[in-house]
Assembly symmetry: C2
Homo-oligomer: 357 residues x 2
């Protein structure tokens, strides 16, 4: 295992110490339970956004804490869900009186623990809502998830809803916007190589020298299919076409009802893309793929979108939701209406994304 | 060879096409000869900054074209110097009448070709100055270089001198500031793994499963020593101490004299760091190392600097001067006076660095 780490059991702690040392103007780190939060939290009167999940996907989520994005982020151990006490303590720390929105990626552990945290926070009188991100078109039901996994749209949702919260959106408005972003976003990823979880000490899976995995998740869980290595254009076409040609997707989600103090089930259907749509295109590195290769991918994404009458109006290209040192990429397309573009363009100042300030 | 590429001979061209497609608001790409330049070039009355070098180090240099940084960047083939006609045509395109500053990393091919380009531009009546970046403390004289190689300080120089040019510095003032930044900056890098140049199709060098290379250059050229794999703290201490304990470094550089129209040799001595210095600390990924590991490294850099009375006042952490998918990191420390901090903080809007706008 070749990594810049010290003792395996200190990996997450030392990364958090590094973040705290590097960005005291932006964020603070609370240890035991571990969470990262805005240096100026709580921001009175602003809805607070809290996300979290296993470590190993940096800069998501801790690197997105700061003005215009998250108020708090709860890191678990590598590829392991954080615990309800992390989420609950984080929510208490960042709540500025306008309530807390949990952005939850669809992995069973994250979902269950954020549900418990929402109930704990509600018991304390904190207004809470919770929106699930489930945007991965590759597989329905996988090793860690019932339904579609939560991947790249999470980054875009944190930016867009973060901008809206900064602009004074209420908790209900933030939740509605976040749900819309999730319904408008679709992603798919692929791996050229595996990654190694420090505690395991060996690659999560084996891929032959001439193989690749299409439709992989961010924990190295199996994808849709294993294929012979293909060109960048072929790979990009596989991912982009699967996203653009996706059918309507219906599932039941659970959201917290603040007034009733109970979980409510909702049936949601995501409509597919169509010609004439404007989109934000996000080409993401799984960690080990350099940005130079992402530009070759973006070039083909744009060509395919142009060919189908889907117009890319904004883009994001780089390593933002990663799987340690895994080589590969993921593509996310997000249908972008005026509200979404407005908050995408809003100022953001975090370690991982920064513009306008 | 596992990469997101199409035909090996199209790698650089397709990356440039991707950049042009992704960032039309920031930059344009000229093909044959290849160079990237600001979308609004030439900026009348502003000194134009031009850099360049082999591809494979992205986002450097093309990703640093835009407001507050470079006006033009000339990419060679992977790990291969660009040619004088690229640099000359780029200079002609971006010159806004206030002259062109070449920022040249110290590699023999780059140095010779930028010298030819300076003479060609001078022949056209363009005012030119050229500053060499040679900040790598690891080795003196290597496979590709006489003297110290140009590495991480290049990124910082492009940002800082870019800010000064935007603020109205003359060509002479920009050159003087750039020379100072180079003399104030020192870097050292290490590799956990090799990288593979597409045209070669196999790793540039072999490193055993329990080996690392200390003092490596950005082309995978041999470093100072090959050692058994060590911890992040041990590796960080090796690099940081070598930088902080460096002795005065004297060498002769050649700079273009605009008035005389000839090359002039200057002897330059860089003074070492001392307690009380303020510095910008730059922890860089060689490409394949994820940002999470860089934070563990930064934590130790800060501890060592604190212990020696060197105060980090700004930092940059991420993949900015890379070697394709190589795993490893480099550390750059730059002594920061008020002028340097002022222009570090100035607005920048490029694909690779963006803040304040």
């Amino acid at each position: 295992m070749k990594k810049l780490i010290n003792a395996v059991e200190d990996v997450v702690k030392e990364q958090l110490e590094g973040m705290a040392a590097a960005h005291p103007d932006l964020l603070k780190v609370h240890f035991e339970p571990n969470f990262v939060y805005r240096a100026d939290a709580p921001v009175q009167g602003k809805v607070a956004l809290v996300s979290g999940g296993g470590s190993g996907h940096e800069p998501m989520h801790g690197g997105f804490v700061g003005l215009g994005m998250l108020d708090g982020a709860c890191p678990g151990e590598v590829f392991t869900s954080p615990t309800p006490d992390q989420m609950y303590e984080c929510a208490r720390t960042v709540d500025g009186g306008a309530g807390v929105l949990f952005l939850v990626k669809n992995y069973t552990g994250d979902v269950l623990n954020f549900e418990t945290a929402a109930e704990l926070a509600h018991g304390d009188g904190i207004k809470v809502q919770s929106i699930l991100i489930d945007d991965d078109v590759a597989v329905k039901d996988s090793l860690y998830t019932a339904g579609r996994r939560g991947v790249g749209t999470t980054v875009l949702a944190e930016k867009i809803v973060g901008g809206a919260a900064e602009a004074g959106y209420t908790l209900q408005q933030c939740a509605d916007l976040c749900r819309k972003v999730n319904q408008y976003g679709r992603s798919m990823g692929m791996a050229l190589t595996s990654c190694t979880v420090p505690a395991a000490g060996r690659p999560t899976f084996e891929l032959g020298e001439n193989e690749m995995e299409i439709g992989i998740g961010i924990h190295g869980e199996p994808g849709q299919k294993r294929l012979p290595l293909a060109t960048a254009d072929e790979i990009t076409a596989m991912l982009t076409n699967e996203i653009l040609d996706d059918r309507p997707y219906t599932r039941t989600v659970r959201e917290w009802d603040n007034d009733k103090g109970e979980w409510v089930e909702k049936e949601l259907t995501d409509e597919p893309f169509q010609a004439g749509d404007r989109v934000i295109a996000f080409v993401n590195s799984m960690g080990g793929t350099p940005v130079s290769e992402l530009y070759a991918v973006y070039r083909k994404v744009k060509e395919i979108c142009d060919g189908k009458g889907v117009r890319i109006v904004r883009n994001l290209i780089g390593p933002y939701i990663t799987s340690l040192e895994m080589q590969g990429c993921s593509i996310t397309l997000l249908k972008a209406d005026d509200e979404i573009v407005r908050f995408w363009d809003a100022p953001v100042k975090t370690p991982g994304l920064r513009w306008g300030v």
